[in-house]
């Protein structure tokens, strides 16, 4: 399950952010999961919980707020904007490849209007740590 490695990265980023903000305790991690990567929300919450034990003590009581972010593509050739439902990504091995590396959508997806593989992924690509909630050393 490669989600565990990404969950571990989220934890490490949270610890760094807590250090930067001088937080003594992290109560909540707000995480966005891009629709393109096809990581299930439940599975990612499970992964976060799973890697929690080995982390910084300030994180041990943390809860997670994981939400899915829809994909937005924009074609660099005809400038058409489109979404996940407008392309087929699951032909052959495309779905699994994109699950590991979302940029492989450039190998397997095409602009529905002009057929170009040259597009931007404006939103909904992968995992982002949106926000931390916690308390400072004096609270």
């Amino acid at each position: 399950m490669h989600e565990l490695a990404l969950a571990d990265a989220v934890m490490k980023a949270a610890v760094q952010a807590a250090d930067d903000a001088g937080m003594a305790r992290i109560d909540k991690l707000v995480v966005k999961v891009g629709e393109l990567q096809q990581i299930e929300k439940d599975l990612f919450e499970f992964s976060l919980a799973n890697v929690l034990a080995g982390q910084d003590p300030r994180l041990r009581e943390a809860t997670f707020d994981v939400s899915l972010e829809p994909v937005r593509f924009e074609c660099n050739s005809c400038h058409h904007g489109y979404g996940r439902q407008d392309v087929s990504l699951d032909d052959g091995d495309g779905g699994e490849a994109i699950h590991f590396i979302p940029e492989l959508s450039h190998a397997f997806a095409r602009c529905p209007k002009c057929g170009s593989p040259d597009f931007e992924i404006l939103a909904g690509r992968g995992i982002t740590l949106e926000r931390l909630e916690g308390s400072g050393p004096d609270e």
Partner: protein, 248 residues
Amino acid sequence: MSNSVDPRPFAIADRLAGVGRIVGVSGSKGGIGKSVVASTMALALADAGSRVGLFDLDFTSPSDHVVLGVERSFPDEQFGIDPHEAHGVQMMSIAFFAGEAAVPLRGAATTNALLELLAITRWGDLDVLILDMPPGLGDTSLDVINLLPRLEFLLVGNGSRVVIESVRRALSLLAELDVPLVGLLENIQRVADGAVASLAAEFDVAYLGPIPFDPGFEAALGDIRLLRETAVYRELARMLAPGLPATK
């Protein structure tokens, strides 16, 4: 924390914690033998008993799997993904995911693919991880210089004035950025005119010696038994027999 954070860079140090040295095989031009040198070097080091990784970073034109004759297969997933072991070399390539499909990537997408693979690949314990770089000093080279503080470069060049001119630019940039250099390797030497060796001396970088044009190399591509008989393999094995040279 006011802005959202990309978590991937925070995992990279951990994923590479068991790796001794990280060497980017680079060169300013395409087609001068970076992939051949990176792959054959990985094989020669593994044959000599080193634990070696080979990471193909030329995402739009991966080649190492062709040189070493490795078939596409999705990596095993555990806590991240495992490199694919072939002939004693731990390999990672975008070709394992893309198959034969073309992967057209702009700069930002290249950076994203690199970050993703660095964050999820478990390299384990290696003496050296070799990065096969795309040509030039563009996005991927600048990204690895920024993301991997322990990175060293090994430059491949030849005696053509077109290449010398371009390797000189690369050497001066790497000196300016304080990137340590294993050395400068001359591949496909046509004439022994000393041009590459004097360029190395000019920048106080080790000259790693010449590799001749090897007429049998094409036929040996992808066939590990034949590959070990090529002049390229022989020269690299000899060059690396005392171990991968230390940087200057």
